[in-house]
Symmetry: D2
């Protein structure tokens, strides 16, 4: 038998309960992993507290991001061997290519069971070798936030050295975007409500920061900082309010990657602004396994280290979720499963 | 001396006046053309009546779309010879590449003088050989509407056989998009307020039409017609109201090309819908000369004929503008300069 | 028990033998199909007679291209239901994305068992719904030749209306390329040693044909036919000798897709010719499932019908292979499994 | 009057003669520059000594790469002002887009007069602002070697962080490729005949070097260094002999950029190797002005410094050419025009 934490009965952090289940056997093209670490995304918090835009059948094992060791393999497994250290992918069926190649309803952590458990089965097509330069705690942060940042800037955005990237805030996706942009020779402008967090972002390589509390019209400030040119890429995680500023901050033909709504989901824009500013706007649905694998090569080749803000024991997941909810973090909140 | 029509004093169709000006001499890399035909775009109407989103210094010669015969060439002209029949490009400085390569404030018909005249100078970089299979009246329709449709679907959209294209209405851009989509092996769904226009669109190759008056929730109708898949490309010329329907009609990862606002410019969307629907949205700023030249090869290779709705003498430009304003047209309104 | 034909003992058409094997049960993510038709590719002939550039362990069931009906499904199959009519993919593990996403040694017909049998298992990731507008015999032709042509021209080549495509010969890949190019609005030039085959190709939409026996310097002839511009895409199936002519026939920056060596594999070029002619050359490894699915949409949307030259009973596979070897065919050689 | 050096009479370094010519006046869209520095490319040496694959009418002012100060502007110049420091582009007419957009016979240094002079006219479309972080001597090195490397790796190759790049030798193009690859987060493997040059390349950021004299089968060595994966990009400047090794060193689907033939132009390959290795091969014709401008942003954003090997007075061009011919250089050979 093996332990897992499930959300059961109804939503609410208090409904996260430890259960015991049999250790499953890997079938054709599946591997069994012993989970070493997981990490939290805001989506996980929303699902657990019941504020996500859709609901899933319960009980549900939460969390999509994990790293673990392969302890058994099923028939016809060709990609991994026992002993490999692997990360799970968010989409269980999106190997490569455009988003239409992802099969809907195959996300980990809802609707499919997630990885907040001692053991878990992974389809070998939905796993990648963890970067060799990362600890377990670091490798657990990649599946959603890392892949989202990479997919936006690189797979879709074709970022190149000399580009300018606007990164909103200092959450998980934004810090990965910062690190990938710096590694790729781009210049990063970061916004935050905290001067202290801006200083931390600069230590990671950001060129300059803008405090959006003291400079609410930060779109104009970005134009000034870029000599009127605007930025080539925006990591737009703020929601409709910040989107309006992003439209002002972006270069002609530039790219706005719509990823989140940490500043609230209410608000609106006139879509003709997209025409008038002649920009490209796209939703970013995390990314494919091909994006994940390319990102791993970049992480290894440049020895990039994900920013781990704080580590909780995996059994304290409710506390960890409350901490993430508070917004005090800088980087990822990680859960340690085994030592 | 040569005749030209200028908008002078202030905006208003009544302020379009015939003037006489010396025939200019082509300088380095310029050609002089005798204009044979021009065509109207909605932008021209807005500029003339004063409703365009910006204003230009007057007097201004209107219109960006023309075909003419090269009657003299300046120094270092290598692309054309006297006797060639050429079309003007909308952007005077956008040879190729992404929109950032276009130099702002170089559009014909405002702020730079347009082509409603007997003679005009063109930079040889801002002209293309007219398709050999087209009459003068047909060739005059391409510079804005044709290039916009091509740039959206082909240069930016990489349309391929088997794709589905949603075309809104039956104006100039939309009919070109219909024709290019059909020539490229794509399936076209057209919306219109007129069953008669839908029938005409079907005669041009549209697969099916939807009357948006009788079916205001046409987004859902499009999903049904595509077995739930949605369309790959939207030619969005309706404005914010139709944009909301387009978001419902589009395939996951599909492309919405924001081009116009014939249904009005008021309204709004929540930009998170772009995230939730995981689509790509872009403004289309007409297109580059490279797009124009590729389009010419497609027009010649497939013997495509632009849809000319009605021809006016060029001296009756005010009447022609009023006619375009009425919305009664199906295809392009053309002005004949010489016989 | 179910029948299958295996190559056993050693290579040679005489070593193709009928055997009986138990009908397999589909496992996780597998479907069992009753094979309705298969088709031959030149690779199959080479493997069977022992002239392929590598050898595979025997016994081996030949053939990679098949269509069949799903008669049973395993656990976690989400893409298909019993009763669906599906085509097999050549690569068992290349869902989408660039070729590096294909797992080597997973081709059907060698090294993995092929489909010359009554029943076969397919991974659901390695199957696509057959085009609804095609008969079984037609649908059996797509997996290699069709996907190769599509991948070269569309997935990699981004062919657009108005492009010019040079197609060598009238074998399976070349005729698919011809049909996809015509459907996509491109102009096709075909080479052949037979005037009669050229006439057939023109009936399928080719713009013009060149008999390479009477015009061995056909590269220059292609330049003349394109007014000196050259072609945008070459379907290069002839081998080193024809490659030299292709280099002369191709537009600056044009694309040569290296696919085969029907004219012999001996010969050489100076690779600096690629530099001097400033072209792009790529090997085409069939294509991904994403390419296959996009091709199916194009086949359905344009009601394209693969060219079936001749049909043999599947038990006469050796005769069918000798016929393909003779080079007398125009289009695909198909094997009927069931009526 | 102003000085210029021309190749006159016939080829041969001894036929490079100083002449005096009137200072030209800039016409429409032209700027007059006072040349501050130029640099040599191997092409210049070949043209001067008469070994280039084609010949140009004489007298000819050599050299395509220069930086200078704008001292006068003609009519309708919008991109530059007097006092700007600009670099010339190799192609006088290739603003952006694919190579088909370049007008042939418009290269500087042959057939069009080059920049080995005190003053020169530039079309404003064929000039870019010099990077602000570079000295004149550094900025003079970019037009051919820098743009070629950028165009190959970035504009055509879409290099991303984590890629591996094989750079042959330590000439101008190769060192720029090394620097751009390192700035973009890629890993660089360099080949050289000199261990000392390998050490210098490592000081610039190369991951590892291979001495191709001691390891003539360096293709296999590259595979070992990449754990069997091969490299994503090859900067192929060696000619047919090294091309064969490159084919062994490259990843499935990887890219070989054919740029030069420093190791000799004799030799051949079987083009089917391109098929069997499933790679992409392209000729690189320097690059467009858009590539140049993107490269400038990368140079400024990452404060990259071109490697200047040695500086000669511009009047000693023949000595400089003999030095380049000797192959002793590491980086660019520059000519100083003014102090």
């Amino acid at each position: 038998m093996a332990k897992a934490i499930v959300l059961q009965g109804s939503s609410g952090f208090d409904n996260l309960r430890m259960v015991e289940r049999p250790v499953p056997h890997p079938r054709r093209q599946e591997v069994l992993i012993r989970v070493r670490a997981t990490s939290l995304n805001y989506r996980d918090v929303e699902i657990a507290r019941g504020s996500y835009h859709t609901t899933f059948p319960l009980p549900l094992i939460p969390l999509s991001d994990a790293v673990g060791e392969v302890v058994a393999i099923g028939d016809e497994v060709t990609r991994f061997s026992v002993g490999d250290r692997v990360c799970s992918t968010f989409w269980q069926r999106w190997v490569a290519g455009p988003f239409e190649m992802a099969e809907a309803s195959n996300q980990r952590g809802g609707p499919r069971d997630g990885l907040l458990s001692e053991y878990a089965l992974l389809d070998e097509q939905a796993a990648v070798l963890a970067p060799r330069n990362l600890s377990d705690l670091e490798a657990a942060t990649l599946s959603c936030a890392g892949v989202t940042a990479w997919h936006a800037l690189v797979s879709e955005g074709a970022m190149k050295a000399g580009d300018t990237v606007l990164v909103q805030g200092t959450g998980g996706v934004s810090l990965f975007a910062l690190q990938f942009a710096v590694a790729g020779g781009a210049r990063v402008i970061v916004t935050s409500s905290s001067d202290a967090k801006i200083e931390k972002a600069k230590a990671l390589g950001a060129f300059v920061g803008i405090n959006y509390r003291s400079t609410p019209e930060w779109g104009a400030a970005v134009l000034d900082l870029t000599e009127g040119r605007g930025v080539d890429h925006v990591i737009e995680v703020g929601g409709p309010q910040s989107f309006s500023q992003s439209l002002k901050a972006v270069h002609r033909g530039g790219q706005i990657n719509v990823i989140g709504y940490l500043g609230g989901s209410e608000g609106s824009i006139n879509p003709l602004e997209i025409f008038r500013r002649q920009v490209r706007v796209r939703g970013i649905p995390v990314g494919s396994r091909a994006s994940f694998e390319a990102m791993v090569r970049a992480i290894e080749g440049n020895d990039l280290k994900p920013v781990v803000d704080r580590v909780f024991p995996w059994t304290d997941v409710a506390d960890a979720m409350r901490y993430l909810e508070s917004g005090a973090h800088f980087g990822k909140v990680v859960l340690a499963h085994h030592n």
